[in-house]
Amino acid sequence: MGSKARVRRTARVPWIPIAIISVIVIMALFAPLLAPYSPIDQTLRDKLLPPAWMTGGSDKYFLGTDAFGRDILSRLIYGARVSLMVAVLALTVGGGVGLAVGIVAGYVGGAVDSVLMRLVDAAFTFPAILFALLLSVTMGQGLGTLVIAITLLLWASFARVIRGEVLSLRQRDFVALARVRGCSAPRIMLTHILPNVLNTFMVLVTLNIGVVIIAEATLSFLGAGIPPPTPTWGLMISEGRGRIADAWWVALIPGIAITLMVLSVNLFGDWLRDRLDPRLRQL
């Protein structure tokens, strides 16, 4: 008879991913306090030292040094900052645009919906990585370019999922009832639709942190990310990739950091989705 409050089995809280994410966030927030050295100061004499626990490693540099004798630990810590900053900015801008477009398209419908959805289709067709490359050569490399590029990569998928969600919300009686009570369309979108898609939005955000971090790294690899010497994890891998044979730690450590981070946010995101919105089907 009718739908009934579903009794939900909550998945186990993913403590390990949460711990990893917390460590990285703390690293990013307190980088100047935590990092033993400046991330860009070079000591060419100390270049390519292996991590402290290996033969030849120095106690001064726990995770070793890179080709310029920069402390990898410090770069990793500051790199977390940049990577997270890119993620936060891109997700705020891209996710925000996607959220707004999704809500408007889904709620208003009709021609507005068609036009917006064609734009979304266009965004999916447009090779975003390529666009990022293009932007980086037209506007120069930098945080702004990177954020714009990644925003372009993100907004459409946000818009699509949110719109789907709004379409089903719009069928719910409380939306019709809000109209009956005299709420205007913007008011309904803000007070009735928005709070109800926030869960979905949060899940999308978590699951896309990984996408952003990978995109940043890939663009750095292709030479279109944040310019050196500012450390980002992607750039660190990119700089060290030629040395896997002799100085593996230069690329492997940031590689592991990215993998751990993305793995953690994804596991966390999955859990969040199961908790908040188990029916949310997403990429």
């Binding site: 009718g2 009832l177 109209r179 709420c183």
Partner: protein, 330 residues
């Protein structure tokens, strides 16, 4: 209880020859128009202040569509709807807002009628807030009053919908509908999602409120017994058309239209072995996309005559205030 319609002043709500056709665009792939669903096809009736009109019929016959048009959620394809003599479609700005305070609704599904992210107090207050009804304190006071009126405790205003049972939610929905002191409340199957024991509570509550506030109801239902208990007048619909309309008592005493008869006989009395004359209809309900010609019921009618498929019967008065659309009564 049921005075003849024409004896009283102008009706609160008048539905005049209303039609609603939905263009059917089919499939995810095929966004082409396959035809039109004639969800409501030439429906007229009145509702008087302070009384209840029951609207019954099988699933898909257009009951909800009719009520959504009355709520100004849907534009009629044809025809018009008047509230206190004024056409409601095309209203803008203040006039629309004024209209919104006069007509409210309670829907069937208690789980989807309340915004899960909004405290119920806020939901109840919403129409007061958007209409700038008063200051905060006044609104809070009114919310408390409404909660008590529907049998809840005032402090429950602070709770979220998931903390309520289905019956309580329907009460909250009713409180929200009552907030702006409407003249008409559209009740679209307000009790069919509720358990038997809760259903009776809700029906009693609705009756009590009507007695006190003098509000009119349009009660959409498919359960005849519910309509019998609630409505002053009853309209029976079949495939978008009205087939019979009469004061409830008169209708239940003397069913005329063959479809209404079948409907009545299909109702299973909660009393074993009572059904006297049982009319089992053959076949399926035809698609509103391609309704049968002539009388829409002729494909399933036990009394079908040759001309039933040719001509459409008009709604005619067969006894005082009792209207039937059937060739048998010509």
């Amino acid at each position: 209880m049921s005075a003849p319609l024409q004896d009283q002043g102008p009706p609160l709500l008048r539905v005049e020859g209303v039609r609603k056709y939905f263009a059917l665009t089919k499939g995810i792939l095929f966004t082409r128009t396959l035809g039109h669903i004639k969800a409501v096809d030439d429906v007229s009736f009145d509702i008087r202040a302070g009384e209840t009109l029951g609207l019954v019929g099988e699933s898909g016959c257009g009951k909800t569509t009719t009520s959504r048009m009355i709520l100004n959620l849907e534009e009629p394809t044809e025809g018009r709807i008047l509230l206190e003599g004024e056409a409601i479609h095309g209203l803008q700005g203040d006039a629309l807002r004024a209209y919104r305070t006069k007509v409210q609704a309670v829907f069937q599904d208690p789980w989807s009628s309340l915004n899960p992210r909004m405290k119920v107090g806020r939901t109840i207050a919403e129409s007061l807030i958007v209409n700038a009804w008063g200051d905060r304190a006044a609104i809070d006071e009114r919310v408390r009053e409404l909660l008590v009126q529907v049998g809840l405790r005032p402090e429950q205003a602070q709770q979220y919908p998931h903390e309520f049972s289905g019956g309580q939610r329907q009460r909250v929905a009713l409180a929200a509908a009552l907030a702006s002191r409407p003249r008409l409340i559209v009740l679209d199957e307000p009790v069919s999602a509720l358990d038997v024991s809760i259903r009776a509570q809700m029906m009693n509550l609705l009756k009590d409120i009507q007695a006190k506030d003098d509000v009119a109801y349009l009660l959409v239902a498919h359960d005849l017994a519910t309509v019998r208990h609630m409505a002053d007048h009853t309209v029976v619909m079949y495939l978008g058309k009205i087939v019979e309309r009469a004061p409830t008592a008169a209708l239940f005493d003397d069913v005329r239209h063959p479809y209404t008869k079948a409907l009545f006989s299909a109702v299973l009395e909660a009393w074993p072995g009572q059904a006297a004359e049982e009319i089992e209809l053959k076949g399926e309900v035809p698609s509103p996309l391609d309704p049968p010609s002539g009388c829409r019921f002729h494909t399933r009618c036990p009394y079908v005559m040759p001309h039933c498929s040719q001509r459409e019967p008009a709604l005619r008065e067969v006894s005082p205030d009792h209207f039937v659309a059937c060739h048998l009564f010509e």
